[in-house]
Amino acid sequence: MDSSNVRMVAADLLAHQQLPANLLHFVRLLRQLGFRISAERVTDLLQGLTLIDLTRRNDCYHVMRACLVTHPEQIPLFDRAFNLFWLGREQWLLELGATTFQRPTPLRQQALRAARMSSRERLDDRYLPPEEGSQHAAESELSATYSPWETLRHKDFAAMSREELQLAQRWMDALIWRMGERRTRRRIRAYKRTCCLDLSTTMRKSMPQQGEIVHLAWQRPRFKPRPLVIICDISGSMERYSRLFLHFMYAVRQGAKRVEAFVFGTRLTRITSALRHRDVDTALQEVSQEVVDWSGGTRIGESLKTFNYRWSRRVLRNGATVIIISDGWDRGDIALLRHEMDRLQHSCHRLIWLNPLAGAPHYQPLVRGMQAALPYVDEFLPLHNLESLEAVVRRLGEPIMPRATPSIGRFLR
């Protein structure tokens, strides 16, 4: 069955207003996420949807899953895509999806963008029902699901109610993490011409022709996601955020490979192994048993020193990105803080400081700990609501330029 047929069926269904207008759009998104969906399957889906009660979200979900998923591994991804899309987070899904599953080259990105644009235009022009009223109805229905999320996205974590916090945590669980990548020294086969010829394979492939080289084999370096180290402040001044940030670390640990997590107040505790539990409650309970300095004072300098001396050589290999989450309130030795920040910056690929207070409109880093640390931070970002968290996630995936100043730790990355 070709695509014109699909369009006819779709147009037919749409004319009868039995189908949400953006279903085809959703299919397109899934394809960009790497799903292989034939035109036939889409027709099946369209027809399947006519057979059920469309107001029952769960039934819709199962029909769609049955038609669009072909592999058990695809189900978690499909679930995320489904939730994000039907909650109106489609743009965001696009951004992540396009780069999570295919390494984007500038050209391909352009092509993707163009494809997206044109698909949207086509949808708008031809497949939306002619009646203006129903379109508005569909839109308002979407925005009805969208707006509470929009409010939540901008709400400071500290001001969130219990329910809202739970929502935020669930939202974190659904995040798709993609770390910036680094080039490894390992090479793998390339399927098109690159800079490096794979002579031994070339030779091997020439054997059927009595050693006449007809086909050249190429190889290219392999890329791997960078390791991530999160060091989170759980002292008294951060109390309002601690639980949520722990959940944040849990979500990252579940969602990405090679994540190390530490917390500190007056002393540093490694919680990586505690967070390995799939079950969030077990994980966080184990963390709370391991940590002894909840909501006490803060000694950032000493904690970072412990990190540098005891852990840095073990966890900062292969160009790790380090994230420190703290408000910068420090009652310890400021000179030491400066010194250890310097060392830390020099031994990692990128040092990011996330400050929950920095989201305030007129925030100034006046706290002396923050002032001391700032010169050694590659990036200083706020982390006070879901929107800022989204920005952080996006930033982690972006490639960055190397630092201008050479550092002693450059061999570590």
């Binding site: 490894t184 390992r186 090479r187 031994s200 009595q210 050693g211 540098n308 050589r313 290999r317 292969n318």
Partner: protein, 299 residues
């Protein structure tokens, strides 16, 4: 396998003959490793003599040391074997020139003649009477892919080359794997090995090592050098000196013709002991004063 060592004492005295001072624990695991034919996994801070164990073992057993230095991206071509494709191409061209190109066969080109044996294959191909010592150095620098490959290799000491077949070791090599612990090596690998953590030596052991390894050193200087190094390891340093540094330092002092330590000399030569500027700055001056006082037994 004929037993290489008869007892733990035997190991200890053999190593001593090779000028390596091993404590009882290390001698025991070496004894077990040679008896059970299991790889020896040595972990410890940099410069405590992990690599040296393998070198000395090969020396006292009069066998070959085959060394594989690990690094990220280490692959089959550098660790196991590689086809000399340049020579293969040359061979083909020669045949062509002689008008015999049609006789070129895969069997000829992929024969032992064109095979370059890398360390792991060398270890398996070894045909001496005593098994070779295979040193897999700094495994923590290799990536996980290589680690998984090693798992397979260590379990049966055989290598399959598709064009030639499976080559099995006549005598399994004595495998020594070292790690600086810059990352945790996977449990699966450690489980196949005898694990030993080499700690910094005690004062007596270090003194003996200095006396043994630094020719021309006086007892007094050896005592003082050892005292300073032992003290430095107690201090909070980013990188404490290992035995390698102690020996370098002692040799440097002997070369400079020093009979005993004085503050000026220590300050001048700190760079031999400490490799981070922060550490040098922390130790220089006040702390050196204290160290030298103690080395002279005045405090």
């Amino acid at each position: 396998m004929a037993s290489l060592f008869d007892s733990i004492d035997d190991v200890q005295s053999a190593l001593l003959a090779g000028r390596y001072i091993a404590d009882r624990a290390l001698a025991t695991v070496i004894f077990l490793a040679t008896r059970l034919g299991k790889p020896l996994f040595l972990e410890g801070e940099a410069g405590v003599g992990k690599t040296e164990v393998a070198k000395v073992l090969a020396e006292v057993l009069h066998t070959r040391l085959i060394r594989l230095q690990c690094y990220e991206g280490l692959d089959v071509h550098t660790a196991v074997y590689e086809w000399a494709y340049a020579r293969q191409i040359m061979h083909l061209r020669l045949l062509e020139a002689r008008g015999e190109a049609s006789t070129a066969s895969e069997k000829d080109l992929y024969s032992a003649e064109f095979l370059i044996a890398r360390p792991l294959l060398q270890a398996v191909q070894w045909d001496g009477s005593v098994p070779p010592v295979l040193l897999i150095d700094e495994i923590d620098r290799a990536d996980e892919e290589f680690e998984s490959f090693l798992l397979e290799f260590l379990s049966d000491f055989q290598i399959t080359i598709p064009e030639i077949g499976t080559i099995r070791a006549m005598r399994p090599p004595i495998v020594v794997i070292t790690s600086n612990r810059t990352r945790e090596v996977h449990d699966a690998l450690k489980r196949r090995c005898l694990y030993h953590w080499i700690d910094y030596p005690t004062f007596e052991a270090e003194y003996q090592i200095v006396m043994l390894k630094v020719p021309g050193i006086t007892q007094q200087l050896a005592f003082q050098v050892t005292t300073v190094c032992q003290q430095l390891r107690q201090a909070e340093l980013f990188k404490a000196p290992g035995i390698a540094e102690t020996l370098d330092w002692a040799t440097a002092l002997v070369t400079m013709g020093r009979q005993e330590l004085d503050e000026a000399t220590v300050n001048e030569t700190l760079g031999v002991l400490l490799k981070y500027q922060d550490d040098v700055q922390r130790v220089r001056g006040e702390m050196v004063h204290g160290l030298v006082q103690r080395a002279h037994g005045r405090r």
